[in-house]
Subunit: 720 residues, 2 copies
């Protein structure tokens, strides 16, 4: 239950396995490719929250050079899985300890040669990585080992390192600075191999050594890797020396301890369904390897590469934050602090579009700049870029951040974050929405026109129900926070008010709030996703599929098959009902679930969990279970869209992992927190006997155990 593994490896699986077997520690991620893999196999050592851009290309997260590169030659034949068929192959990943292993046997001239490797990115010492490599032969044999740093990087919009320096004083290293931002990246490696020859051919900078193998006796060596960004070279060199001296096993032990500590709080035990247990652990694993550093956040494709530019989306706030809130409040705070830190970027974006306040980036980079392109889709028929409106119209992003922040404050009781920039974010988002709204003086309502909701297939719609709900919510929170500050921190309030004229905002909110356009509802309580949605062609996903002319064509924009219909990409009204569950009656939930369920493509990995949560709310546990498994196993099965138009969008889906986690806790366990008390209301799928999990809530740690008939909430400890 703690391992995933595969026994076959077809070249067509290389990209999928690269995602599936990814390892990481929140700072760095390394794709699950094999040791001998090269750039064309999409090897990636991805650096979180570090970005660079070249003129005329999309800005993106930086991939470092590949320090794990290791290849073995037998009589000139490379033991490379992409050119040589193995007699035996096994790739596996320890979810418990973030250890990647492979074992591959080749038969060459009637001799069996087995290569084994293990690698990890330390969860304890976050700039440290390590590799252990073993070779065994069924007979006496000379093999040549080549190991080093592959300087040819798989990059979508690179090269980010135009020039770099080879270092060979103590081991093999590369240092270089990124082209745009001049981030100095230093990668040092040292192996236990002695008497090697330095190689510098092709793109490989490394060492080579010929080994004489004795029958059935393994040869092994280890490699210690240090990757630092913007640190003096000496410091990185010193770290390498220290870590190398500690040695592989000791580093591995520290790494495992760190993982054990994380799992001690993060694990969820599921009794009665091994598949669910396994998929959920796999999801939690994916979240753990993304644990963010101080005031950093988590990219939508995790650390699996540069897709979506390594940028931060609403995925983090809405789908991943709950996991960290429950298991690692410090990490949760980092996510919130990231948005506080990037407020100036959001203010600049609002100003750019002629608005006031904070319009957060749809795809956020380090300073909150929006790196989303106005042309996100490449049309498959013309190969031309098509204007999309994710960046300039998906205004719900600002409200998502306020939603997350308020969730954080309530869950942790940490109101200090409001004083340290949080309140400013909330008021600035409220100010943004006020400046965005238009007043229809004929009907006396305020409207949010020309927006894009979660369902991106319908661009530029008016009064998206979800968006309007979030706007109303932001107004409420702004009023609450103002009254909190006025009583609890009057000087902070006075200062902020002087600086930002909060009183005026509050006054306008009071005027506007109750006149926000309410969504149309049918007699049966179905909420219209946006103005005019019900008038669109009412059809089914399968029908749309028959209208496709090209398998990869994009369903949205005015030319897409979904655009003129009621078919939506992902949960939209349903997201609203799931996030604001307590504001809606079961009748409404049921009606909307039944209506939107058959009209949703689930073309986004954010969709299933929201449907699953709502399914739990209306006691459709079978449906909920299907959505849960879909969400939890998306990166296990690899069943996700790889292209939007001609644009590659593959990688891991941490929002689906986070969604699976939410579905387990908020859905199956019916976890609710309110005013300092924590409650559960089990809605377990029939065959699941029990669930057990821990969570931080406010000042304490709890253990919750539920069965179909019984619930137990135990306070484990109170934090200092």
């Amino acid at each position: 239950m703690w391992w995933i593994s595969d026994y076959h490896h077809q070249p067509t699986q290389t990209v999928h396995y690269g995602n599936k077997y990814v390892i990481g520690n929140g700072i760095y991620g390394y794709r699950g490719t094999l040791d001998e893999a090269r750039a064309e196999d999409q090897v990636g050592l991805n650096i979180s929250n570090l970005y660079d851009g070249l003129p005329g290309k999309w800005r993106e997260s930086v991939n470092a050079w590949n320090p794990f590169y290791t290849e073995v030659y037998v009589q000139g034949i490379s033991l490379n899985i992409s050119t040589q068929s193995p007699t035996n192959h096994h790739q596996k990943l320890s979810l418990k300890h973030g250890l990647h292993q492979r074992r591959t046997t080749y038969r060459i001239n009637d001799k069996d040669i087995t290569i084994e490797s293990e690698r990890f990115i330390s969860m304890h010492a976050k700039n440290t990585m390590a590799l252990r490599y073993t070779i065994t032969a069924s007979d006496t044999l000379d093999v040549e080992i080549k190991t080093g740093i592959d300087t040819l990087i798989w990059e979508l919009n690179g090269p980010h390192f135009k020039e770099f320096e080879h270092l060979s004083a103590n081991g093999i290293g590369i240092t270089g600075s990124t082209q745009e931002c001049k981030h100095q990246v230093t990668l040092l490696t040292k192996t236990t191999l002695d008497d090697t020859q330095v190689v510098k051919d092709d793109s490989i900078f490394g060492e080579t050594k010929t080994i004489h193998l004795t029958k059935n006796e393994s040869f092994h060596f280890t490699k210690i890797i240090i990757l630092d960004v913007n640190k003096p070279l000496e410091q990185t060199q010193e770290t390498l020396t220290n870590q190398f001296d500690k040695g592989y096993n000791a580093l591995r032990k520290d790494h495992q301890h760190a993982w054990n500590a994380l799992w001690a709080i993060s694990d969820i035990l599921i009794e009665g369904d091994d598949d669910a247990q396994h998929a959920l652990r796999y999801s939690i694993y994916h979240l753990m390897i993304l644990t963010p550093d101080k005031d950093k956040s988590i990219p939508a494709r995790g650390l699996s590469g540069q897709v979506y530019k390594g940028a931060i989306f609403w995925d983090t706030e809405i789908f991943m934050l709950p996991f960290f809130l429950h298991t690692n409040p410090r990490a949760a705070k980092a996510l919130i602090d990231y948005r506080i830190k990037t407020l100036p970027g959001a203010q600049a974006k609002a100003k750019h579009y002629g608005f006031e306040g904070a319009f957060y980036a749809w795809e956020s980079h380090e300073n909150g700049q929006d790196v989303c392109s106005d042309f996100n889709i490449t049309d498959v028929f013309t190969n031309r870029d098509v204007r999309t409106y994710f960046k300039d119209k998906q205004i719900h992003i600002s409200g998502d951040i306020v939603y997350a922040m308020w969730h954080y404050v309530n869950h942790t009781n940490d109101t200090s974050i409001l004083l340290n920039g949080g309140a400013d974010v909330i008021f600035e988002v409220a100010r943004f929405y006020l400046s965005y709204l238009k007043y229809d003086f004929t009907t006396d309502v305020y409207e949010a026109l020309d927006v894009v909701g979660p369902d991106e297939y319908h661009e530029r719609v008016n009064n998206n129900a979800f968006t309007n709900k979030l706007i109303a919510y932001v107004f409420e929170i702004a009023l609450k926070v103002a009254s909190h500050l006025k009583t609890q921190s009057p000087t902070t309030y006075t200062k902020l008010n002087e600086h930002r004229k909060i009183d005026t905002i509050l006054e306008t909110i009071t005027r506007v709030h109750t006149k926000l356009k309410a969504p149309t509802k049918t007699k049966s309580q179905v909420i219209e996703q946006f103005d005019g949605y019900f008038a669109l062609e009412d059809t089914r996903v399968d029908v749309l599929k028959t209208r496709l002319v090209h398998p990869q064509e994009y369903w949205g924009t005015s030319h897409g098959v979904a655009y003129p219909t009621q078919i939506i990409k992902q949960a939209d009204v349903v997201t609203m009902l799931s996030l604001f569950s307590s504001d809606y009656s079961t009748d409404i939930k049921q009606a909307n679930y039944d209506y939107y369920h058959p009209r949703t493509e689930h073309g986004s990995s954010l969709s299933a969990s929201m449907y699953g949560l709502l399914a739990c709310d209306i006691n459709r546990q079978d449906d909920a279970y299907d959505y849960f498994m879909k969400s939890a196993s998306i990166d296990l099965t690899g069943k996700s869209k790889q292209f939007a138009g001609n644009t590659y969008i593959g990688g891991t889906h941490p929002a689906a992992s986070g969604g699976a986690y939410m579905l387990a806790l908020y859905g199956f366990a019916g976890l609710k927190t309110s005013n300092g008390t924590l409650s559960v209301q089990p809605r377990l799928p029939k065959h699941i006997k029990s669930m057990q999990f821990k969570l931080h809530y406010q000042e304490a740690l709890y253990t919750v155990t539920i069965t179909h008939n019984d619930t137990q909430i135990k306070k484990e400890s109170t934090h200092e």
Copy 2:
């Protein structure tokens, strides 16, 4: 100068000549195809303002059966231009008298046989048409004549007649009713041929006769045709008897007299440029054959077929009305009355979209219903229909109608039209705009969001300068009309006010009027076409052409090459400056002309004349002349778009004809009318020596003569 003609006929020219040689009398139009042509040659006897629709198809104007069908056989060989090459061919059209003629000689077995025909649709007796057919051979010869009604109709969205009755009591006739509206259409014909045999084969219902021709002696016969809609059969039969008794020559004489009377007022004499003279006469001819019947209007493709559904667009009010105002005020009144009559349709459309007042149809049918499709373009790559926004967002149409109405009132001094429904239209349009506007309470401005301006390549834009200008204009006119009524017809005002609450509208107008969003201007006074236009890619038309993947692909909608750029389909800001010429300084006109001129594709036939008018205003006569010739000769050369995406859009371009007329009078002559006085300010292209024209203005008829140095305005007569 009074004829157009061609001496060759390639099958590829059949459609173009069908447009070029069209004849008509405002009620009926007949395409310039040859006598023997059939449905596949796009023969069309189009009925103005008569519409019908089949379920699931576009509604469109009705084509009647073809009564001119005549074919001659020599030894079994058909003298048909599409299967038999003639040794000599001549097709011509008298612009002076609307007479279509052809003369074609075939050599068969060393004998020359010449067929000649002349046809007209009477301008005097509007339900009467006639054909004279002549056959001559170079040697003694038997020929078979076949003539009758071809019941196979060229229809885009038919068949509109599913069943019909053959009548053969007195001549050959067909009567039948349209499928949707049950309009009874009766077509009766009678020839001077005697002892014929009735034929009823294929789709032809007619008669046949074998003639023995003597060497070089012509045989001829005539056919009189009566076409009535919704008349008792007996009445049509009686008309046929009467007209047949009068005979071809008498009918032709009456027809010519009617044309002479029209030309006496409509002609414009141009000295020094035969090409311009010819093209302008050809344009005037096209307008004359569209002279509307009482409270009817003119379709955008005239009577050349069913393209654009035979519907009425803004083309009529903005581009064609001036001709009729000057030459035929009764016809001008019909155009205005058509909009008064169709007010309920406009009110229904406004209501449908959630607005108040009158939102006129983008493509108007008989009751003002909007027959524009939401999916006007068929994508060439996917063959799927694409959502377009002409119908629901091109709100300037309502303002165009008010503009035209006010122009009519000022020009004719006929204020009675205001009392008879005109004022109601104006107030209802004002009410529509008020309900359309949104208030931006942050900036204290009123905005017209989400519209389409004349440049249809940029859909769903905010604050289109032209549209906002029209809205402001409508508000002004509403205030003026209200004050006029209050003093001149207080009881009318009181009644209208009771019915429509005009006072409330006026009050709101007063509040809103001065706060309408003004367009952005650059330092050099270039007016931004809509919010954000300047931020689009600045490129050139030629560059866009290199980006096309398919020659027929549509340039607009979010996938089109023009959409993300500043390239526009047609005059937009320039239309505003031309229509509201006196509101803008020469500097502004110059700056905008220079800016938009190289950024305009002129993909619409409405574009050239607006550019030409502005060019005159800034003394660019050479440019103006080019635009004039382009506009005036569009249907002579056939150089116009035949497809938008995969949608066929060919036919005649009366708005371009009207534009050429406007350009001659308002442009070259600099004609201005204001407060009862008429002035000219000649801006003739260098090589044009003089221009002379007549026009009705208010209660009088004037003759205007201009040269480069001299102008003469002579009052000819005062109307009773």
